[in-house]
Symmetry: C2
Subunit: 225 residues, 2 copies
DNA sequence: ATTTTTTTTTAGATTTGTCTAAATATAATT
DNA sequence: AATTATATTTAGACAAATCTAAAAAAAAAT
């Protein structure tokens, strides 16, 4: 089974938009893929005949088990290449997404398995996202949006959901990366901005939009025993 | 300047067929690219409007300086990826060509420059072919076909001109690789086969076809001082 | 110098992935 | 429930890269 880069991109986009197993709308897909709704409809019909997704006109779309499997392999490739770019070629984590978008379509599975081994079987990519294994299983990591983090609670950044250069640039500016330990000092009701403190650094303020795209883990055992 | 994988393949193929700066025929290109002569004609017209080659109907084709530059960058990428696959991912040198055919079309030049550095700026790929530098200059290596190697002259294999799996498989069988030291014991006039000896190994015979595709360097200073 | 063969080009289709504009279905609002 | 707005699909076109079959040019052979 080999699919064109375009088809692979559709499957990946649907997978990401699905998340909770809900159906994905034509428009949502068009927005995600930067294309027209008409093009999406065309492609959905083709992917349906290949049994990669369930699709009823006007009723949205959902991946089949086969479709999910393909999507997970693309995601695996994407994240392993990102890891390679950052760890071996010393790219900044904000530059790798675009390049990995190309590399993820290289077909050889032997290549990707060897790469995985060469990299020491990493479990997460540089953005903190888990890397599916060769069978396509991907551990679910408990993650909370910074918006939902209780005030004053120490937490560690584990992933960022938006990987635009613009956002990654902003994170760099604030010295936030995967693994960064931080806490929300307070919330400003007026504009929903958050004051953040990182140990040994001056406090600073971030927008609601940024907070919504930052995911953290934190200790859920009570602070006071 | 970004070109489609298909266009890049045409430029690369013309570059390889040109060698001595002669014109390349439509049919030769079609054969090389496993496509029809009609398709070649179509593509040549497109590449001509992009000033990547000189082309007059029925008169064959030749790359312009621009076209050569693009071709050399593709070759650079191809050979660096091959080196990576063999040296870092432990692929056999006979398996890497196909995969590199895909990888060579990844566009980022920053990626390829970092890869080059990561690999320690190798000068030749696993098949012994020189790797063009970032500016596109490629050292000319003095190489002689095994057919032209004087009898009893010790020489070292530096490259193979045919990279089909079939040929590389045969080479493996004979324990011949880049750097292998060997000599031609004698030539059999009847069928043009050659008897080869590799130090510390039993002698064996190879076909004229194989010999034609094996290139060696040897010391040209007189054996007896 | 014809004729024949080979090579190359043109003509006309096809596939994939895309587009815009128009039509139609669904959802939201009054 | 009828109307308006939004979402989605259909219709028709286009560019890239390819194909086969036919025509034309060039080369080879008589």
């Amino acid at each position: 089974m080999k699919y064109s880069p375009s088809k692979e991109n559709y499957l990946k986009a649907i997978f990401h938009l699905q998340q909770d197993d809900s159906v994905v709308s034509t428009n949502a897909l068009a927005r995600q893929l930067n294309t027209s709704a008409a093009s999406v409809t065309d492609m959905l019909k083709k992917l349906k005949t290949q049994k990669l997704l369930q699709y009823q006109p006007y009723r949205g779309v959902r991946l089949t088990a086969d479709g999910k499997k393909v999507a997970l392999q693309i995601i695996r490739k994407h994240r392993l290449w990102e890891y390679f770019l950052v760890e071996k070629l010393e790219f900044g984590w904000e530059e790798v997404h675009e390049i990995a978008e190309e590399l993820e379509h290289i077909s050889s599975t032997k290549l990707i398995d060897r790469l995985d081994h060469f990299l020491g079987n990493p479990r997460t990519d540089p953005h903190g996202d888990p890397i599916p294994d060769a069978q396509g299983s991907m551990p679910l990591v408990q993650q909370t949006s910074l918006l939902d983090l209780p005030v004053k609670k120490q937490a560690a950044v584990i992933s960022v959901s938006n990987q635009s250069t613009a956002m990654l640039d902003l994170l760099k500016h604030h010295h936030i990366g995967i693994g960064t330990k931080l806490a929300v000092n307070r919330r400003f009701e007026f504009d929903q901005t958050l004051e953040i403190s990182i140990p040994h650094r001056p406090v600073f303020t971030i927008s609601e939009l940024l907070a919504a795209n930052l995911f953290v883990t934190y200790d859920t055992t009570p602070t006071t025993a």
